[in-house]
């Protein structure tokens, strides 16, 4: 039994291409999820008995309590029954966005609720409109508190993209599987790619910490 680390190293270009696919999908899903998650958080901000609150709550709770893999399958294999045919990459981005919006909605909602009532009152007293209060005061303050959680969620999204390999999206995991079936250097390839994911997640965390520091220099 000898190890042949040459196989994964020769194909590193292929893996890096896959890593970039994983990364841009993750970034796209993250941005869409923050957007949609903010809307959901606003819908769930105050316990109102109106339809919007109830719908948003049902959505968030159902998504957070069912597996993301099943959600991916429903979008990709289930929707064609209703004549909605999506490409693997579209279905993957949609399913991951549907999933992560619910998680990010909860993070943002907790962030908004952590803002002291005095901030709202102070904003009102200097004559800001409700939208201005939110946009200029409350949201930036909330973002500061939840930046670590959001960074963490980005890493979770990055790992979630590996599930898209089953839809034949050519991201990092899928490329590893393809190379495995061509060369049969199983252990070397999967260990190598595991370490690659590790390096990517470290780099992502570092970049996110740097962004955090740029925006909010006064916190560690």
């Amino acid at each position: 039994m000898f190890f042949d680390w040459g196989t994964p190293i020769i194909h590193i270009g292929d893996f890096i291409m896959g890593a970039f696919t994983s990364l841009w999908i993750a970034v796209l899903v993250f941005l869409l999820s923050v957007l949609f998650g903010t809307l959901l958080a606003l819908a769930r901000f105050k316990r109102r008995k109106n339809l919007i609150f109830i719908l948003a709550t049902v959505y968030v709770e159902f998504i957070r309590n069912t597996p993301v893999l099943v959600q991916i399958f429903i979008v990709y294999f289930g929707l064609p029954q209703f004549d909605i045919h999506l490409s693997p990459i579209t279905a993957g981005v949609l399913a991951l966005t549907v999933n992560n919006s619910a998680y990010i909605a909860e993070i943002i909602r907790a962030g908004i609720q952590s803002i002291h009532k005095g901030q709202w009152e102070a904003a009102a007293s200097i004559g800001l409109s409700h939208f201005q209060m939110f946009r200029l005061i409350v949201f930036p303050l909330a973002l500061r508190n939840i930046f670590p959680s959001l960074s963490n969620q980005f890493i979770m999204i990055l790992f979630g993209t590996s599930l898209l390999s089953i839809l034949d999206v050519r991201e990092l995991t899928q490329r590893a599987s393809i190379l495995n079936s061509e060369t049969f250097r199983t252990m070397e390839i999967f260990v190598f790619v595991t370490l690659m994911y590790y390096v990517i997640s470290i780099l992502s965390s570092t970049v996110l910490r740097w962004v955090n520091h740029k925006f909010y220099p006064n916190i560690k």
């Binding site: 309590n65 597996p67 429903i74 929707l79 590893a176 495995n180 595991t194 590790y198």
Partner: protein, 215 residues
């Protein structure tokens, strides 16, 4: 929408879900044991204990579950180690769960004020007595909500084992879909099964957290 196919195969789906629950419970037990050992090692002074476990935790928290499953399920036979799909799956979920649980335990221990350790030492307690009687009981109270949260996540994560062919509920559903050609309904029923387990547990976590806050 036609749920008659799902209804016709309800026994198979329920059996598949029983396998999901069984795997979850086993992985929670083994993962918690490993997580406690690895988490305690993180607070230890001995480098020989601390750094190898740190490396393990970093790798298993720093890569996707699916690639870990591939590495063990396809990789071990490649090394000439014969392993059943059940053993491979349980091993991966133990290692994966252990890494996350270790972090929860470590941060729980580190949240205990230093005075508690100093007071234990000044009473002349051994390390074991200090941990057993003073530190871990307090850690457990702090760590219970995040631990439960992780367990709920783990139940959902077991669905990923279907990709390597482990016959839990999602894999069972795929077999039924191959016969009935009703993917939407079958997957929807499966997600409702997960919801029925997961949602009450998440309410329980919220309740425990609320109770801790007021205590």
């Amino acid at each position: 929408m036609d749920f008659s196919a799902a209804w016709a195969y309800k026994t198979l789906l329920l059996n598949g879900f029983a396998v999901t629950i069984e795997l979850s419970i086993l992985a929670i037990i083994t993962g918690t044991l490993l997580g406690f050992v690895a988490g305690l090692s993180q607070t230890s002074k001995w480098a020989i204990l601390k750094y190898p476990t740190k490396l393990y935790i970093e790798i298993f928290r720093g890569s996707p579950l699916l690639i870990q499953l591939f590495m063990v399920f396809y990789g071990l036979p490649y090394l000439g180690i014969d392993i059943s799909i059940f053993a491979a799956t349980l091993l991966v979920f133990t290692l994966y769960g252990g890494a996350y649980i270790a972090e929860i335990i470590r941060s729980g221990i580190e949240s205990i004020p230093k005075g508690q350790f100093e007071a234990s030492q000044s009473l002349g307690l051994t390390y074991r007595q200090m941990m057993q009687k003073i530190i871990l009981p307090q850690t457990l109270k702090v760590s219970l909500p995040p631990l439960m949260g992780f367990y709920i996540g783990l139940i959902k994560d077991t669905s990923v084992a279907s990709i390597i062919g482990y016959m839990e509920v999602v894999k069972e559903g795929q077999m039924i879909i191959n016969i009935t050609a009703k993917p939407f309904e079958i997957y929807f029923v499966i997600s409702v099964m997960y919801f029925i387990i997961s949602y009450p547990l998440s309410l329980l976590v919220d309740w425990i957290e609320g109770r801790n806050k007021h205590a």
